[in-house]
Symmetry: C2
Subunit: 516 residues, 2 copies
């Protein structure tokens, strides 16, 4: 699959278009790529026997050590299923575990409020999703400060504007000025209002998950959201080996509505796992499978996403690190395991420790994204904005990542042989010491042949200097400003918009302003 | 293969060691990793049939269009070999071509003046080599200016200090203050004096290539350099399909001494090739194979390196671009072809269009290095310092790349299962909700388990801010200063040093100060 030429072209043209050019394009619909169907092989970093060895050790962990499920309802489900339960410790034998895991569909459709933005997740289908959960932003003036609702609106607008982002995420940054008990309403509202792509649910309590579902029901219809995935929600296992009540509460709300969860241990490798890449993978695999299995006790056959969030830890300071070689290696191992289980799986793309959108951010970002693409990840999260181990969402980083994703989309679309014959004819036409700029083949293909990023600068030094000698970070902020200037809201039907406002008003009346 | 723990540790310790720490370490020998023996599979981006298709088209180009060899000696050799020669156009049939290509050894030993720095090239063996040919430097004060001999000395010192660099290259930057006819003498002298790793030969004229060999003979002995590779030299085909007299002159000097050449078309894809990734590869493959074949007419069985330098061109401005998706895809294709021919092969690692060591540089660098590693490249050139399409060598970029290479060395060493059992025992010891920081396994492995870069910053925002809120580029310059402060010269035997000085003095007397 190749990136549709018209869309890449439009993006390219935006660059020098100025105000007039932008205005002309405004009437055109915002470009958006369909689901990425990977047309390149996956990379297997170890032979199948090594994957089996890890699998075997994961099973032994769940059989011999077991996993904590700190929730009465979950414990009751495990008892009924015949697991070995002692208080909150559940030991799961391999037959039961694999039977439950096998119930998960290997692919599913994730619906967007605009059907043209609906995507597939699983198998060869991959989607890019922006980051989640930053209390801070690095803003358009390069100041690091608390996030606000205005920032969150902006990031949802940018997610909508980015052709290769397939989701609006939800809490890209925290709107810190809004009271915590009411915040989730405004987060979901912003995602649904400013973008027409799939979004993510809130998981911080049962009530907030239910509010999310109520808002989704207003947009998609009560009956539709009972069975059809319209959002994805994240549940993290507390490594090592604890699924807590808050996560299980959210799991119950979403899984019972057939909404997919990401079952992803949050692992600081070396601290919450052993200081061994392969040891960490065996543990995280056990934790993720245990979570996946529980969802199938809640609603058998519900779509789920096996996942991992694994960063290595600086063993001197305890700080989490971003794009390290071991993180890439672990990603390949998790991909191989996901394929073994035929599970859709999630990893993180542009996910870094850097404070700034600087060289470190670039090195780290592409270390992980390359591995995410080649390991065949289906839900490539944290693919825009992430800085500082997730504490900050940067406008410049967000815009940069949106552009880089277009390149990765093209990369994963594979090597095109479509025009190979014509290209070979062009060589015969040109011969030694000629050039190809005027050939028919070049004229036909020059706009679509190669990825043409606009934030990256390939001008001559003199030209670049004359334009202000701006570094990439500065150009990224300018691009973010342009994206926001070009934004036009994909309006909700007025009845739906009002329904959402009503629900928010009713819930806000009941909810306190402080966490009790 | 894992990175030797002691060396990674030493590098890590350097970080906070300060002046005293550095002094203590000075007595220890400079860390240096042996040849990287890749312990991970190669990535095949297309099936074998697609590789065969490209191969077939390359053969047809050489049979039907042919290649220009603008050198009487080369033409005589081709005639004698039975090729179809008309003036300087040589059409080579596939049987002759493949017979010549098959004479090249699939691996060879590249000798260093310090035998501990001798490396293997080909097969599973890979080496990292710094950049080549920059007229400008971006200096320790972040000023872009012409390179000097002092800069070149510095880069050779840094190449010596970098454990994962396996070569000193030669003209990392141009010493612009030295007259062109004499410059090569000082370039080679600097490489041989300041580092004990393998180096690269000069190719800009027959005489300069001969001077390079004369200097090598002083260091290695006349008899030794007659048959044993001690340097690598680059010859570029002028795409499309021209091997010129200067390149063939250099080829003759080095190949006749059994010194390996890189046969690498310099292709601006879309301008000097068609605007098709796969079309460009078919052409570049034909050009490289034609060059390889000629070396085997000069000295059958001489070691050679099949190569490529392919950048895509911004079709609006004609500017070369660095780390693009298509560049990575083309690298995988060239790797597959090299393996088909059982040839050692060269690509470029950290090779970017960015003017600065900023986010663009990071994104571009890792796009290409990831592909270089997974495509099984043997001679990974331009792996330190490269900025601005090769016009500039940056101190900060050089130091950054040296550190990143340690990570890539570890990555390519593969996933270690050595301590898997102990890691699984640690999980049993810790159980749910514990942490691993105090386990025996962690205590034994915490220094070597994960890559710990020092220029990258993973500290808390507050700590980073308190330390001056430095971006990666700034920290890279500091690291470069530290590397130079820590440098101690690996002294040449005094007789050899004097021999080199004498030769330079004698040649300088004869050589003019301006190019005639």
């Amino acid at each position: 699959m190749n990136v549709p030429a018209v869309e890449l072209t439009e993006q390219t043209h935006r660059r020098g278009g100025g105000r007039l050019g932008r205005k002309a394009l405004r009437s055109a619909p915002i470009a958006s790529f369909p689901t990425l169907v990977r047309n390149i092989p996956v990379y297997e970093i170890v032979p199948d026997e090594a994957v089996e060895l890890i699998h075997e050790e994961s099973l032994k962990i769940l059989e011999e050590v077991g996993c904590e499920f700190r929730d009465d309802g979950a414990i009751a489900l495990w008892k009924a299923a015949g697991a070995d339960v002692r208080e909150t410790r559940v030991r799961i034998d391999r037959a039961l575990l694999m039977e439950l895991v096998s119930k998960v569909p290997s692919e599913f459709t994730l619906n967007a409020r605009n059907p043209e933005r609906t995507v597939r997740v699983g198998g060869k289908n991959s989607i890019f999703v922006p980051m989640y959960g930053a209390p801070y932003v690095r803003d358009l003036d390069n100041v690091r400060r608390y996030g606000t609702l205005a920032d969150l609106n902006n990031f949802h607008k940018m997610a909508y504007m980015a052709p290769a982002l397939h989701s609006s995420s939800s809490v890209i940054c925290e709107p810190m000025e809004i009271a915590v008990p009411k915040r989730h309403l405004h987060i979901i509202h912003s995602a649904l209002k400013h973008s027409d792509k799939p979004f993510m649910g809130i998981v911080t309590s049962k009530e907030r998950a239910e509010d999310t579902m109520a808002m989704a029901a207003i947009v998609f219809g009560e009956a539709f959201v009972r069975d059809n995935p319209v959002l994805v929600a994240i549940t993290n296992c507390n490594s090592p080996l604890v699924w807590d009540a808050t996560m299980i509460d959210a799991m119950r709300v979403y899984a019972s509505h057939n909404q997919p969860l990401i079952l992803a241990p949050f692992a600081l490798c070396g601290a919450s796992t052993s200081a061994s890449a392969v040891g960490a993978v065996a543990q995280v695999n056990a934790e993720a499978l245990a979570g996946v299995a529980l969802t199938q006790l809640i609603r058998p056959g519900s779509p789920q996403i096996y996942g991992q969030f694994m960063v290595t830890v600086d063993m001197k300071t305890g700080a989490p690190m971003g794009g390290t070689p071991e993180a890439a290696q672990m990603m390949y191992l998790m991909g191989a395991l996901a394929r073994k289980y035929r599970l859709p799986w999630r990893t993180s793309g542009f996910h870094v420790g850097s404070k700034l959108n600087d060289a470190q951010a670039g090195y780290e970002s592409n270390m992980l994204m390359h591995a995410a693409i080649l390991s065949g990840a289906n839900y490539i999260w944290h693919s825009a904005g992430w800085l500082e181990a997730g504490l900050t969402c940067g406008y410049s980083k967000f815009a940069t990542d949106c552009e880089q994703l277009v390149g990765w989309y093209k990369y994963a679309g594979g090597v095109s042989f479509d025009d190979f014959k014509e290209a070979m004819a062009a060589i015969r036409e040109v011969g030694p010491q000629g050039h190809f700029l005027g050939t028919q083949h070049t004229l036909e293909h020059f706009e679509s042949a190669f990825f043409m990023p606009s934030i990256m600068d390939f001008n001559s030094y003199e030209q670049w200097n004359a334009e202000g000698a701006k570094d990439h970070d500065t150009r990224g902020r300018e691009k973010a400003r342009n994206m926001l200037a070009d934004y036009e809201e994909p309006k909700l039907d007025e009845g739906i918009a009002e329904g959402l406002r009503d629900l928010i008003a009713r819930r806000e009346e009941k909810l306190p302003d402080t966490v009790s």
